[in-house]
Point group: C2
Chain length 314, copies 2
């Protein structure tokens, strides 16, 4: 079932108390290149460094009191683990986070710093799922999926909600698409609060499952996902795909070099630190410049948790 | 002669029309480490990417009409060349910029993009000065020094002026010190608009001429300046030293590794791109934590024009 406008409003009233209202940046130079106006919604400045905080707050807050007492669990090598740990802390709920042993130490430290109880496992999806399931059975904690959960999608919608409050007459909003939670939430916000605002996703050619899913009408997966945009290697789910199918008409695929180039532009021109996944929508915009001429385009910069020891510039 | 309060107010009224009012960022984590409150004034978000825009605007605007017709000239391998080119463009004045042939191409392109007329020379100070002098004689253009010019100092004061408008009760403002133009301008603003606000500079041990100058009472130079903080290798001048001598009591010196560590903290925690020179005040603060406990400290982050191909992280 697709959430209603009232659901998004109710979500925003709750989530806003726990998140930063992130700034919207612009660049005269970038606007000049595309002959239009681009508004960057900076979720890299969000608490714990990514939009994922929004969905985590909503998903935990909507649990029953009985569920909250038993805690929450997720498995993550990336931002969602940190988001669940911090959101749970803010809401007074215990968080169990399953992480692969080889996760970057900065992410392990962040989860621990937010008070999450970490269980390490091998870095296969199977090991992560089995470990999570074992803890769930032992503790009764509620499992939270990072993208295929209606409350996560609702929480994610609040980034575009704020962006449309700031810039009401956007022609387009562009997001990356990985698991589909940000894209679905953004599409809902644009549908209810935009003024003819169309939502388009950027996706790496190397992990173009969402593009193929829209074409085939069913959820496709990636056999390989050899992309620098490490947040976008996952596939859509049965909760977000119907929303995306209904509201998103276009996904623009981009090459790896285009992602790195767009990332460099954001770092050099906006002077901000963003993840490779963040650069995919700008890469898409620059690839299909003609489409966006004289338009007002919002871009959700999804996060800024990047390993400074392992940057793609050279 | 030390500028009066009215000079700073008059300067701000002029300069504000041409610069960004840059944001002030904070980090709960950093505040926790020092048990105080740190307010980062983000001049990396300034036009052309550094506070130098402020001094360049004031210095060019204060020329006579006859001088403006003949243009301005400076030599620079760094931000001041870009600042003069852009400020001159905004004020309808011709800019001649002398640059070493081996300057990073991104800086050459930026100066050219702002409409500056570039003359290349060898990368010695002598070649730069001789080339500038030759153009000055040929054109009658006014030479602008990047730091030892009262109007540049006045222009620079506007960053701390804005910071003190936003956070009036700062106990300290920390800046880096290289040529001394930012430190002198900040000290003036703190003197006139602060409420007992003390200004302290951070300086690399590897280029500690300003520290030694305060000790000896005369302008000292660096025989070597083997520091990553490439904006801080120059020495004080006869216009800014009297101001610094009168108003600045303390300069904290820092090791190279402390600069890199502080730079990483700013990138990772604030999610912004800053130059190594920017990180020196935070390095100073972290080195002498005890001094700043329970205090409110402003830090001027001087700029964000960094070569992404040549970062110190590993």
């Amino acid at each position: 079932m697709i959430p209603a406008k009232e659901d998004l409003i109710e979500t925003y009233k709750r989530v806003r108390k726990y998140v930063n209202r992130t700034p919207v940046l612009t660049s005269t130079t970038i606007n000049g290149w595309i002959d239009g106006e681009v508004f960057f919604k900076c979720e890299n400045f969000q608490k714990m460094g990514a939009f994922k905080m929004r969905g985590a707050i909503q998903a935990i807050a909507k649990l029953s009191d009985a569920q909250k007492k038993l805690g929450v669990i997720t498995h993550s090598s990336g931002n969602f683990g940190q988001a669940v740990a911090l959101a749970a802390k803010n809401l007074g709920v215990k968080a169990y986070i399953v992480m692969p042993e080889n996760a970057p130490s900065v992410k392990k430290e962040a989860v621990a710093g937010y008070g999450g109880e970490i269980t390490f496992c091998e870095s296969t999806l199977e090991a992560r799922e089995n470990t999570s399931e074992k803890i769930r059975k032992e503790t009764g904690a509620s499992f939270l999926h990072p993208s295929n959960n209606i409350n996560v999608i609702l929480g994610n919608s609040t980034a575009a909600y704020e962006l449309l409050e700031d810039i009401p007459d956007l022609d387009y909003i562009l997001t990356p698409v990985g698991g589909g939670g940000l894209l679905a939430g953004t599409a809902l916000a644009a549908q209810y609060f935009g003024n003819g605002c169309e939502v388009i996703a950027g996706e790496p050619f190397e992990a173009d499952d969402a593009y193929r899913s829209l074409q085939s009408g069913k959820i496709e997966v990636n056999l390989t996902a050899n992309t620098i945009a490490d947040g976008l290697r996952t596939h859509l789910g049965d909760k977000n795909f119907p929303i995306i199918q209904k509201l998103v008409k276009d996904i623009i695929r981009v090459e790896e070099q285009e992602i790195v180039d767009a990332m460099r532009i954001i770092w050099e021109r906006l002077k901000i630190v963003v993840e490779p996944s963040c650069a995919v929508p700008l890469a898409a915009l620059l690839r299909e410049k003609e489409k966006f001429r004289n338009k007002k385009i919002g871009i959700i910069l999804s996060g800024g948790n990047v390993d400074l020891n392992n940057l793609p510039f050279s």
